[in-house]
């Protein structure tokens, strides 16, 4: 198959890393060649973070370039806007409606752009947005925003639901399996 390129963008601390590991593990179970490129270190401290997941018959570069992403999962609205030009024409943009002000906005040096979702939808008709934070809260743990978004994404793939769920079971800590699966299910149904 042609490679599938997925980007996870968000704010350090939102759980993009764990989500990308679930994606990578699922792709591997499907016997694809996989590369997952992560961000560690300084930008994890509340900075803008991006993780790349690529799979297919053969993957060379672990990075996704502008105009190459099939799917972008944005954990925060502004980050969707920051990375949108990585999406290819006809690509899918999944956006968490959560807003986290960056420091330049907090200090008044910059403005948080308005009507982000509207703007994205005007150029990418495959833009889907959900309030993953509220859904995660309802599921019982606001840290499961990542699984809500994985659920939303899983719905749009051909990969069986049970494979996703098994992978989540293998990836998250034992005592958090239930709440993560609930969040995945909620995201899946929201799609």
């Amino acid at each position: 198959m042609k490679n599938l390129n997925i980007m996870l963008v968000g704010v350090g601390g939102q759980g993009t890393l764990l989500a990308s590991r679930v994606l990578g593990a699922v792709a591997m179970k499907e016997s694809y060649d996989v590369k997952v490129s992560e961000v560690h270190g300084m930008s994890q401290r509340g900075g803008s973070v991006v993780t790349y997941v690529k799979f297919g018959d053969k993957v060379y570069s672990p990075l996704i370039e502008k105009g190459e992403a099939d799917i972008i999962i944005a954990f925060e609205k502004l980050e969707a806007l920051r990375w949108f030009d990585y999406l290819k024409e006809g690509g899918k943009m999944l956006v968490n409606e959560q807003k986290i002000n960056p420091m330049p906005v907090i200090t008044g040096k910059a403005k948080y752009p308005e009507r982000i979702l509207e703007k994205l939808k005007s150029v990418f008709k495959n833009t889907v947005s959900i309030d993953a934070l509220s859904i995660a809260k309802q599921c019982g743990n606001i840290k499961t925003v990542n699984m809500v978004l994985i659920g939303l994404m899983a719905k749009s793939t051909d990969i069986e639901k049970s494979i996703w769920m098994d992978t989540i079971r293998d990836t998250v800590p034992q005592k958090l399996v239930d709440v993560n699966l609930r969040a995945f299910e909620a995201g899946y149904c929201a799609g």
Binding site: G24, K35, H40, V59, S61, F84, I106, F124
Partner: protein, 583 residues
Amino acid sequence: MKKLMLGNEAVARGAYEAGASVAAAYPGTPSTEITENMAKYDDIYSEWSPNEKVALEVAVGASIAGARAICSMKQVGLNVAADPLFTASYTGVNGGLVIMVADDPGMHSSQNEQDSRFYARASKVPMLEPSDSQECKDFVKEAFKLSEEYDCPVLVRLTTRIAHSQSIVEMGEREAYDLKEYSKDPNKYVMMPAMAKKRHVEVEKRMGALKEYSSSTPLNRIEWGSKEVGVITSGIAYQYAREALGNVSYLKLGMVYPLPEKLIANFAKEVKRLYVIEELEPFIEDYVRKMGIKVVGKEQLPVIGELSAEIIRERLLNQFLETSIILNESVPARPPVMCPGCPHRGTFYVLKKLKLNVSGDIGCYTLGALAPIEAMDTCVCMGASIGMTHGMEKARGASFSRKTVAVLGDSTFIHSGITGLIDIVYNKGNSTVIILDNSITGMTGHQHNPATGYTIKGEPTKQVDLVKLANAVGVERVRVVDPFNLKELEEAVSEEINAAEPSVIIARRPCALLKHVKYEGPLRINAEKCRKCKRCMSIGCPSIVDRGECIEINETLCVGCRLCTNVCSFDAIEKAGGNDEES
């Protein structure tokens, strides 16, 4: 069995399979996970050493004692470990010795963009460079063999995108490795001039042999495609080149020092146009040019930052991405910030309030240089804050010293701040040093260090007593303060900068991300009490937001550390979702 692994995890697996039994490191992005994964193997003794120099010395000792040993560090760590490196090159090894160095092109988490390949050449040690996780594992195993065969340490270089990318690795069994016999051999292991002169001869012989080896080893391979274009490349640049240029011919170098002269010459003869594609410095390119071969390289490709397939397409093929999708929107930057609940925030609030000159250091607290705190003046290298503040005092005198402090973390202090402190005492300085003791090595992702009282495997051990340590080197004014007690901290700093002798203030409060640190949960601002004076915003907490009509606390970010309540004059901050019992 196959497993998706980070490059760093695969390095650890390689060392495990090679029968290595000693691993030492000081944490540093992007190398940290190598040794974190090493510690998961019961068969390997692993440690966090106080710094990279000690780590390498531990590994050199283990090697001479007959074990296979591995030592890991980030690029700037190799500067610290350079002293043992250059002479271990002369002594050679007994058990195999592998030194991992992780460069950080693009400076995702570093203070410079140095290219560590030059260390291989300068110290006369061979260097391998893998291109994915499978190669990380395979090359480390090969490096152990080479080390023993050619009697030298072997460097293996990673870059961030190799270290922190996951790809599929086929796992193997652990090799049964018996310790090599230990015997006294001063001619080989005691490097005094008379012995070292003889060893240098051996080093040159070995490098000659390795140069031959480089042209015959499968670590360096040619992948023939169209001969219109030939590409010499290595590491992550190989993957970018493959992605951008497709089916041309590649000389993929797994051994980047010594370079394979014969192989390069043969490859160059066969192709019409030759590129060298490498990140950072023209290390391979200069060598190829010196051989008299015409090549295209850094005149078109950047020496700054990371490469990418896009850069290669643009610079070498003149292909530019065409896109019709444009959103004219200015997107505010999102720089990293100190976390909500970060203990350093209290310290920097006070330093800013007192308008001090702050000689800074390397760690999470370096973020104190960024807006809105902007309270740090310098940051150069690990431990430098102390020596630099002493230098400032000696240059500008006591009045300047009374407005200046050095600030560094507990782990950084142990790494190389101690010697600076001794310098201040010995050379009659008066500087004030603030040790931000958050009970962990923070920025690299929570590693233990000699001041935490636990080993890499989480076992309890002796804990360095920072107060006694400072006393012991001759600092008589030492005090411990909670950085969230702003009043007490301000008094302490004011007194110590004015003291005519050296002082150490230990600002002690654990990192908010540590599991055992439990704050009470989110706070909120009582709109009736709030006068919108914005003093709470001056602490630079990302969870406090100015909504224009009101100041608000973002309840999903706030952990409830209560630092903001210490600056609010109107008692307007209370626990969210109920009455605030404390106020």
